[in-house]
């Protein structure tokens, strides 16, 4: 029997959904990043890195009015992620964390999200900046970044709050721009 519900919370306890969810890539992300170890781990560590979204032509109409947004979310398949793990050691520190408390690619569902700067559109192609995605990554969705929906204040960011900005920047860029190859 389920325990007592908290006030205002839903009480339903039907079976868990088990049906697989299948998505068809709608395009591809182009970038200068070809090696995982040289790819910045987040857009904020890839400032100014240019790339492109190449949408399949049949979806071009869905981009109408996107030019008005300065940032867009890209959702994509981490198609070269290592095998999923529940505990990972993040790049920014040396402690094992639950994968859902990190942005590591080796997740049970290898779904990636990057918040990139939108420079301009040419038909079905979006020119973007701050790209932390491997070249050739399959694109699943695009959503606009909307100020009133997507920013939060007074945020606690867990273990990330204990990583200072300098360390984060140094480790977060990985090999990118360091001359290492």
């Amino acid at each position: 029997m389920a325990g007592r519900a908290h006030p205002g919370e839903p009480t339903g306890r039907e079976a868990m959904p088990v049906k697989d969810v299948t998505y068809k890539p709608i395009g591809v992300i182009r970038s200068p990043h070809t090696k995982q170890e040289d790819t910045p781990i987040q857009p904020v560590f890839a400032r100014g890195v240019a790339g492109r979204v190449e949408l399949l032509p049949e979806y071009e109409e869905g981009l109408r009015d996107i030019e008005g947004f300065s940032y867009i979310y890209l959702f994509y398949a981490f198609d070269r992620a290592k095998e999923a793990r529940l505990l990972v050691v993040p790049y920014l520190e040396d402690t094992e964390r639950g994968v859902f408390a990190t942005r590591a690619p080796c997740r049970p569902n290898a779904l990636g999200m990057s918040l990139v700067r939108l420079l301009r559109r040419e038909g079905a192609v979006l020119h973007i900046e701050d790209v932390d995605v491997l070249d050739g990554t399959p694109l699943l969705d695009i959503k606009p970044y909307i100020g009133r929906y997507d920013s939060r204040e007074d945020v606690r960011s867990g273990w990330q709050d204990d990583v200072d900005d300098t360390t984060a920047r140094e480790r977060g860029r990985r090999g990118f721009g360091s001359g290492k190859s």
Copy 2:
């Protein structure tokens, strides 16, 4: 032949990826919302609405340390979305927009994202607030909201900037809390 590349941009033009991407739900989202027409369209229009993430027990270890984050992104399948369309009329106004310039569920890949408040964890269950998701929605991924990664300043939000806050709030809550049923 491809046109001239912009400086610093990638030049590769291999074939588009066409392989489907399949995800297995890792749990389910519980909420008081059972009717689409009464479900707020965004977490900011669902302030204080309580719900739960019920993770399948085998993924519980992946939640380690998530308690430190005040907000988390939920990624889920819009399993009751209408047929995909490339042009949609958003709830907040009366003009047709490209679906990728909106957050409408009827997208080519029906992938949803909600940024919700994390109240506490009990084993494989997360107690959350600001829930704009239909009860029983299949969960695909959880990522922490990280201040240094996820907020942007000086943002243009396209057509959304022309919708005033009062109109947005009124339309964005839809039937929720209005007594309509």
